[in-house]
Structure formats: structure tokens, C-alpha cells
Amino acid sequence: MSALPPDLSQSGIDAEVAKAQASATTEHHPPRDFPPYRSSALRHPKHPPIPLRDPEAVELSGPAFGTTDIGPLDQDLTRHHTGEPLGERITVAGHVLDRRGRPVRRQLVELWQANAAGRYAHQRDQHPAPLDPNFTGFGRCLTDDEGRYSFTTIRPGAYPWRNHTNAWRPAHIHFSLFGEAFTQRLVTQMYFPGDPLFPFDPILQAVTEQSARDRLVATYDHDLSVPEWSLGYRWDIVLDGPAATWFEDEEEGHR
């Protein structure tokens, strides 16, 4: 523990971010210990994780989801109430791939987000921005046979949080994804291009490489925009980690 109290100004946080990024050893994923993100302090293990090297590990398989797990409106977050939500209607779509570039087929994608004013439908979010009676902000879908997903929602607002003085989260959508193996599980956040809050956010900056941060930012895609209806954002997702079928493929390759 530092003897001095932390500097909770933005410039103090910026300095901590620069220091933490300079000493980071992780390439793609954020280090779990990232001091400028205050909540990580007591919630990261000190021991290094133990590599899983057993080809028979249960983690190399994973849960299955199907049509029974999805309602007909789950993909369209603007239709969960009687009226239209406030805000800018958007389509968010892309491919889910594994690290070999193969589509992740028929797997579950879950999404949740704040409303257009930057408020979550959660009692502990007391940010004084209006709740929207026509927007809850949760959806799910299954990827198709090409690994594609698509949601209709509204663009969420930025919102303040208490990490440090004048801390604001850039607008983002939370994503939860399953691959064919539990090892490929991913929870992350999608950002919108050109957000001026990126350099000030210790959560995004916990991803220490610029090229890796860029992979969290969607692209505006005019061809995905629907005339008179919604603006299109494309975001492709690559799940880390192996699956059991990788070993089967390799065995077949040796025959």
C-alpha cells in the first residue's frame, strides 16, 4: 500500500494509468490488477493462474443454448415495452469468431446497457438522469450458422461513476458471449467510435495496448443503417481460448 493517499484528480488517474500501462505484461486482456481502476484492488488474485493443460478438461466443452432460451423480441430492445424508447435507434451487428477465424455457431450472445440518458434500470444506479419507462436495456440472441449476431437497441449515454473526481464512462454496451467451450467464455464492453472520453477512462485503458483497445470500438457502417429507422454499427468479436474440437481437428489432420 502506498503511504500517500491516492490522487483522485483526473490528472492523478492519468499518471497512474500511464504507469500501470508501462509495467503491464499482458498482451490482449487487461491485467486483473490495475490500480487506477479502484475496485480491482481487493478483487484480483495475487497468485498467477495455473495453466490448464489437460486435453480431457471439462472446460474444453461448454453449455448449449437453443430456441427455447430466446424470446421472439429478445433481439430488439426497443420493443420490450408499450412505447418507443427515447434516444437514437441503432443496429449493432457482427460476427463471432474463434481465434482460428471460424464462426461460433448457434451460441448465446447477451447484451445489457444504460438508456439514452446514461442510466441503468438498476436500483443501485442513482445517477440523476431519467429512467425510461420504455427501455430496460437487456437483450439476447443466438448466433446463426455463419456466427452472425444482430441487435436493435438505442445508443446508450455516457454516465459518471465514483472511481475518481469527474470520472465518466464512455458510452458502451456490455456483451456476454459463449463459445463452444467454457474456456472461450467472454464478458466485455463495446464502445462507439470517436468518443472523447476514451483517454480518461481507466476501465478502457486497463486494456493496455492501443491495438487491443481498438478492437473494443465498433465501426459506423452505413450499409447496416436502415433507412428511416436506425444507424448501423458493426462489431466483430473474437473469443479467446481453445475448444475440445480443436484437438479432434488435429487428430484428424494426423490421419
Binding site: 490482449h28 487487461p30 491485467p31 486483473r32 490495475f34 481502476y37 479502484r38 480491482s40 484492488a41 481487493l42 478483487r43 484480483h44 488474485p45 493462474p49 495455473i50 495453466p51 490448464l52 493443460r53 489437460d54 471439462v58 472446460e59 466443452s61 461448454g62 453449455p63 448449449a64 443454448f65 427455447t68 432460451d69 430466446i70 424470446g71 421472439p72 420490450h80 469468431l97 481465434r99 482460428r100 477465424g101 448465446l108 447477451e110 438498476h122 444506479d125 437487456f138 439476447r140 456490455h174 456476454s176 467454457f182 467472454l186 464478458v187 466485455t188 476501465i203 486497463a206 486494456v207 491495438s211 483497445r213 478492437r215 473494443l216 468479436i237 473469443l239 481460448g241 481453445p242 475440445a244
Partner: protein
Amino acid sequence: MTYSYELPPTPSHTVGPFFGYALPFPEGGDLAPAHHPDTLTLRGRVLDGAGDPVPDAFVEIWQPGPDGSRTGAPGSMRRDPVTGQGAGRNGVDFTGFGRISTDADGQWAVHTLPPGGVPYVCLAVFARGLMHHLHTRAYLADDPADALLSSLPEQRRATLIAEPVPGAHRTYRFDIRLQGEGETVFLETA
């Protein structure tokens, strides 16, 4: 073992504090079909580096069926087509998957069936403050031949063994300590 990767992965992020209206689903911890005689209870707490409960975490469980099947089955998060709300499980099929939010005391519990072919169930923990979720295993029985357990020093190995709760029918306790004394062994899966 090394894997040939062609694409860089999408980086992980924390689930944040506000997943609770979105990710939990009815009967999330009730994997065992209703009234199944082999049902066992696995319960525990998620604790932080100060030993305090983590009230805004969730735990996911993935395991083989009692017959050793690793294919799982759909239906963990069934939707009611009338209301669009969660309908709960069908009470018959074993999906092998569950998700449980911790309560204000950091407590979580699942009711499940014994995993076939292996002595453990897979767990993943997600929380505010945790930029990348953590994988671990709860072993329902010690197994000297198990590759992972036998690779660990005794003190760390003990963190993966679920303890039978005296006087409680087929009930095991498995606390997940994110940091500090008795820190749970977590697994690197990539």
C-alpha cells in the same frame, strides 16, 4: 500444449455493478431436475482480499451430466413466449449450466447432480472490479490421481476441495477467495 492462433482476441472487461437486471435468470442455480434423489447442494461465498463478502458477483457452473455427457442441453434460460419473461427450467432436462448472483453476504448456492466421469465441476466468477473473469474448479472428492490437484502444493490444493457440511444432506461448501489468505486456485484457460 500450444495452440495456433490466427486472430487476436477481443479483450475482456468487467461486468460492472449493474448486470443484475439482465444476466440472472429464474432457477439459475437449480440444475438438478425437480426432486431428483441424487441432488447435491454446493454452496459458498465469494470473498475479497479483505475477507469481506463480494455482493455484486455472479458464479457460473458448467459440468458433465451424471452419465458423463459433455454436450449440455438447451433450456437453462427458457423464455415464456406469452410474457417474454424467464420461464425457468423445464424440470426434466439436465443442462449442465447454471448462473447464480451472490447475495448481500456474498453467498451463492446451486442444486445439481454429481458430474459423471470427473470429480469436479467447473466454476467461473465475474464481478465488478474484476476486469477478466476467473475460472476455478470445485472438487467434490479429493483425487490423488487428478492432474491438476497433484500439481499443486498441499495448501493451495485444499482451496479446490469442496468440504462436506456436517449434518447437511449431500451439501458441500466451496468458498471462492479472490485474494489473500487462502486465495483460491484459478486457472489460465487460453
